[in-house]
């Protein structure tokens, strides 16, 4: 069930009313309802994979209890490995099996051994990378003693399958979200209203920005050999906005929906395209994933402590793994590698934490230096998206070589003025609202109510007018 579907527009109010009025504000029935609703939500795509979520939930629920009960560190470690092997094993089979088989085959062929391995017709379960990481965070935190294992099955099931963020995050930590399922929720109108605003803004990002950019990005990337460098560059910019609108829009809707049910999810995007360097970009882009890797991979590896070599190694690992997390294709790994290359100089020069505040903090407009930094960072990010979007490394190479060829100076073969104007307005609105979790939390808040309502109406009507060809959320495939 997509957030931007009629099905969801019916599903959400129904669950909302049942949750607040049908469950008598009792925790257990509310949690049971969330689990049922989440399974319906997920089963709408493919009910066959519900068993996988249930299995993953059961494994981590019991493993965490065994870890908690055991006072023997060795035993605890064995149980942790059971969880890691099971969860990463599922991910490996469903997401990476054919990739590894294909690459092993190729490697053996290069060594002179030719064989025909069996490749499986595996369907990737929607959101498997997200809920797998979420359950892992729970078991690891229990193992680390940061969290007591819960013996509340429904609360834990609700934590794993919570429908707003089940299929595309934000990837929540058990320390943050699980206690919310264990405690009573209180309805706060202000929070719910802000949730609705965030849903509206998320829909604008998805429907107006992402889906419309997708039409051009798809056209350009799917026929990249036919376009000049200038047009391909425009295509990479469109894709940059497509993926941002798509993914951050989804996160906004997920966070907004959760707020309607009294939950707070972590922030996932913080205006990443206003970043002044790559390090800042990674503090603002897919925050729940980058902090997950930081806490469960980078720091255990040693982080930036120790020698420069180990810091270099750890940084490369985390970026490569991050790339590989997105998909079983070399394009994602190279995408991660490029980001590592852009990040490492900042790390070694000690400048990776030089932009911790908001850009042009306290000012209306950025100064020239900030503006140039933002443009440069955005340009680099857009170029790396070429690897992310291309179907193969060959295609990415073809696109990048064309972009850096003389045809960069050719006139644009596509120039959708209405879309460029829409993007300009979107950037301005995001800039104005950059200090708030989402622009509508800032924009128009001080306005008289009729004006504010008019703005929301206009946004809804824009959704109707601009609704492009409905596109799937890109991150569902991850």
């Amino acid at each position: 069930m997509y957030f931007h579907s009629i099905d969801f527009a019916i599903f959400l109010p129904l669950v909302f009313l049942l949750y607040w009025f049908g469950c008598k504000q009792a925790i257990r029935p509310q949690n049971i309802l969330i689990v049922v609703a989440s399974y319906v939500f997920y089963g709408w795509w493919d009910w066959r994979f519900l068993g996988l979520i249930l299995f993953s939930t059961a494994v981590d629920y019991f493993v965490a209890q065994f870890i908690d009960r055991s006072s023997n560190k060795k035993q605890q470690k064995i149980w942790l490995w059971v969880s890691l092997t099971t969860n990463l094993g599922l991910l490996g089979v469903f997401k990476y099996f054919n990739f590894f088989i294909a690459n092993f085959t190729q490697a053996f062929r290069l060594m002179g051994y030719d064989f025909q391995p069996t490749s499986l017709e595996i369907i990737l379960p929607v959101g498997i990378s997200f809920y797998t990481f979420q359950t892992l965070s729970y078991t690891i935190d229990v193992y680390r003693g940061k969290l007591k294992a819960t013996n509340n099955w429904f609360a834990f099931s609700a934590y794993v399958s919570f429908f707003p963020q089940l299929v595309a995050g934000p990837i929540e930590r058990a320390t943050h979200l699980l206690p919310q399922f264990l405690n009573a929720r209180e309805f706060k109108a202000e929070k719910a209203v802000d949730g609705l605003r965030q849903i509206l803004w998320g829909l604008v990002k998805k429907i107006v920005i992402a889906d419309n950019c997708a039409e051009y990005a798809n056209q350009i990337f799917n026929n990249s050999a036919d376009y000049s460098g200038s047009t391909l560059l425009l295509g990479s910019v469109f894709f940059a906005f497509q993926i941002y609108g798509d993914f951050s829009g989804y996160s906004d809707i997920a966070i907004g929906v959760s707020r309607l049910f009294g939950f707070d999810l972590m922030r996932n995007f913080a205006y990443p395209y206003f970043s002044r360097d790559i390090a800042e970009f990674w503090r603002r882009w897919h925050i729940s994933l980058s902090t997950w890797f930081r806490d469960y991979l980078y720091i255990p590896l040693g982080g930036s402590r120790g020698s420069k070599l180990s810091a270099f190694r750890n940084t490369v690992i985390i970026f490569l793994v991050s790339g590989f997390w997105h998909g079983a294709n070399w394009t994602f790994i190279v995408w991660g590698a490029f980001h590592a290359l852009l990040f490492i100089p900042l790390l070694f020069s000690g400048q990776h934490r030089s932009h911790l505040n908001n850009p042009a903090d306290g000012k209306r407009l950025p100064d020239l230096k900030t503006l140039l930094q933002m443009i440069l960072t955005f340009s680099l990010v857009s170029l790396t998206w070429v690897f992310f979007r291309a179907s193969s490394l060959d295609q990415a190479w073809q696109i990048l070589t064309t972009i850096f060829s003389f045809s960069q100076f050719f006139p644009l073969q596509l120039l959708p003025f209405d879309l460029l104007l829409t993007l300009l307005v979107f950037i301005i609105l995001e800039w104005i609202g950059r200090t708030a979790p989402h622009p509508l939390a800032h924009l128009a808040i001080g306005w008289p109510r009729p004006l504010r309502i008019t703005l929301y109406m206009v946004l809804v009507l824009l959704l109707v007018y601009f609704a492009g060809t409905p596109q799937e959320f890109i991150y569902f495939q991850f």
Binding site: I6, W20, F187, A189, A192, V193, L196, I453, Y456, M457, V460, L461, L463, V464, Y465, F466, A467, G468, T469, P470
Partner: protein, 324 residues
């Protein structure tokens, strides 16, 4: 919570009011574009305004609306006719037009049902589907008939403005300023095609490989039920296979089977079936603009021939059923 719900419901209601107003405006404007979609809005507007009070109605696809000229009915029979042929639609959607006609107009007494070999073929995608947009809000007939095609959701019939979501072209056309050429408007549903047979039509014909048209059982049932109902209501139905260019008649391998089915059903319900695919005018490309459509010249010739036959049929019918 109560205050929140009241505020939210008020917002939604306000939004619905605004959406309804915009829906009405877009639908109203779009319906005026009689130059689009083969002029279908002329016919739909007449149907919904209850303007079709004629002695004869002509049903069918494009082979109806470009080939039967209602003006000739007055001259020849002294009776009125309206051509309800709907471009590119099979019998399923022609039947929808029939139902809408019944809902807003007096029931017809005489129906000329123009058939073609594709009439009973089931389609997955609906051709020219935007013609239904201005009329489909809360219209259960359109909902029922459209829902048999892919990518169609019932909510589009009940939530104002939703069906226009993302249809920038439709909204643009609705508000586009155009001067519509009055000679290019369907009159009584008919518009003769001032076109000639071209080299392209020859190429298309030459490249056409033999094929069979799958006939859908559900469509056959609908067709037979329609004939049965007309019989029960004592409506005079004349089934017609209009002229086809002789050079294009051999490509459909189950052509004889389909025509035999029409003839059998006509006999079963006691209606005449007139097959004009063997007329001498079918030998001349000058009467056609492609192998299955007569041009204006051919249509005039054909309508005249058809009306002569209709007179005979009427005489036979009158002899069989003398008025008291």
């Amino acid at each position: 919570m109560r205050a929140f719900l009241i505020r939210f419901v008020s917002f939604v209601l306000l939004l619905l009011v605004l959406a309804s107003l915009l829906d009405w405006l877009i639908s109203y404007r779009y319906r005026q574009r009689t130059d689009l979609i083969a002029g279908e809005f002329v016919v739909w507007n007449d149907i919904y305004a209850g303007n079709i009070q004629t002695d004869y109605v002509i049903y069918g696809s494009s082979r109806a609306w470009v080939q039967f000229n209602p003006a000739q009915f007055i001259d020849s029979l002294g009776q009125t006719a309206y051509n309800l042929g709907v471009d590119g639609q099979n019998f399923h959607m022609q039947h929808l037009r029939h139902l809408e006609l019944l809902r807003h107009n007096a029931a017809p007494k005489n129906i000329i049902l123009s058939l073609d070999l594709f009439s009973l073929e089931k389609n997955i995608y609906l051709y020219n589907e935007t013609q239904y947009l201005p009329y489909q809000l809360f219209n259960t007939n359109i909902l029922k008939y459209r829902s048999q095609y892919v990518n169609h959701k019932p909510a589009l019939h009940f939530i104002p403005l939703l069906r226009y979501a993302g249809r920038k072209q439709v909204i643009g056309e609705a508000f586009e300023k155009v001067v519509i050429d009055k000679n290019q408007i369907r009159i009584k549903g008919y518009m003769g095609q001032e076109r000639e047979w071209t080299a392209e039509a020859d190429t298309v014909l030459a490249q056409l490989q033999p094929f069979a048209i799958p006939i859908d059982d559900g469509m056959k049932l609908l067709f037979e039920n329609f004939l049965q109902e007309m019989k029960r209501k004592q409506v005079n139905v004349v089934l017609v296979n209009p002229p086809e260019y002789v050079g294009g008649q051999g490509h459909i391998t189950n052509r004889n089977e389909i025509l035999a089915y029409y003839a059998a059903q006509a006999k079963r319900f006691g209606f005449p079936f007139l097959d004009y695919s063997g007329l001498p005018l079918c030998l001349e490309k000058t009467n056609f603009y492609n192998s299955s459509h007569l041009n204006a010249r051919g249509a005039t010739l054909f309508t005249a021939i058809f009306l002569q036959e209709l007179k005979k049929e009427k005489a036979i019918h009158a002899a069989k059923h003398p008025s008291p």
